[in-house]
Subunit: 201 residues, 2 copies
Amino acid sequence: MTAPIDFYFDFSSPYGCLAAQRIEALAAKHGRSVDWHPVLLGAIFKATGGAPLTELPLKADYARRDFERSARFHGIDGFRLPAKFPIATQAPARIVLWLKGSDPLLAARVAKALYRAYFFDGVDISSPERAAAVAATEGVDAAAARAAVDDPAIKEALKDEVERALARGVFGSPFVIVDGEPFWGLDRFDQIDRWLASGGF
Amino acid sequence: MTAPIDFYFDFSSPYGCLAAQRIEALAAKHGRSVDWHPVLLGAIFKATGGAPLTELPLKADYARRDFERSARFHGIDGFRLPAKFPIATQAPARIVLWLKGSDPLLAARVAKALYRAYFFDGVDISSPERAAAVAATEGVDAAAARAAVDDPAIKEALKDEVERALARGVFGSPFVIVDGEPFWGLDRFDQIDRWLASGGF
């Protein structure tokens, strides 16, 4: 099959950011493209009873250590947990969703730029103005991007995206669905690689 | 360094079982031995606010799928989630801890036999009698193993082991500590491999 693989992510998810640096190369290796789905983990956790890694005792300390260790392990330079973490991610998610409607490839480039801005450069992309300014570095009209954040139709579209994600079983970030098979986490990329190569195992 | 690597596990943990099939080969590759630490996830979750994977909506369905897929991915044949799952694991944990006092290598063999009995053959090792019978297949005196389950000193030793694990930051299973560096999950075995080879990264 040559259907795109579905990549669900929240802009405040460190492993989502690391996965975003790798997902296109992994898909391309198997002749696939990537469908980028920004979602809101806050809404997903509300529905599923999940909790951010960094809010649980012991697990929080471990996670903070593992984020940067995993970045080093995967050869991703420059990643560091921002001082302000986690953040609300409606603004960047809405901008990406708005762009997807007209130009999915541009939306993917902007998604990667937003992740880098937050996790590599410490830019607080929860701010609609700052998120729009990051989009502008990829050639997007900043005023239009800023307006999209408050557009009721885009707000509704993001809610729908989250609902559809939950309906497909998405409970975390990153979350990848390959031909109906769900994979949670950057640490399932080796399984995704084999699944794409063999159509299952 | 040549200190043993510390392997923490709960007998009701599917990924713990899969990791137990691989940990000794991984350690031996780097000239290390394994110190097997049975712990009780129930007590650990009580202290940390954690929850079993299979009690969370969506995550539960995913986990049940991922357990067996991960077994196949790692080439571990015969693994299947038992009908009775999860189970209380005081009995097998106490038997292993009791054996460790006199014969750590025998304790490790019995630990692997107990995991296989539960996750490969569906034996309910929460029963002290059945756990003792499994230990007997490795040459242990069944009556002595059965008595160890009710021995106040062994009960206390298991509580102490759990307390020490929590003090070292152990919040899940499997959990490996290599020269002070913590790794949670079978999916960190690739990072452990590199850490053991290079002393860090």
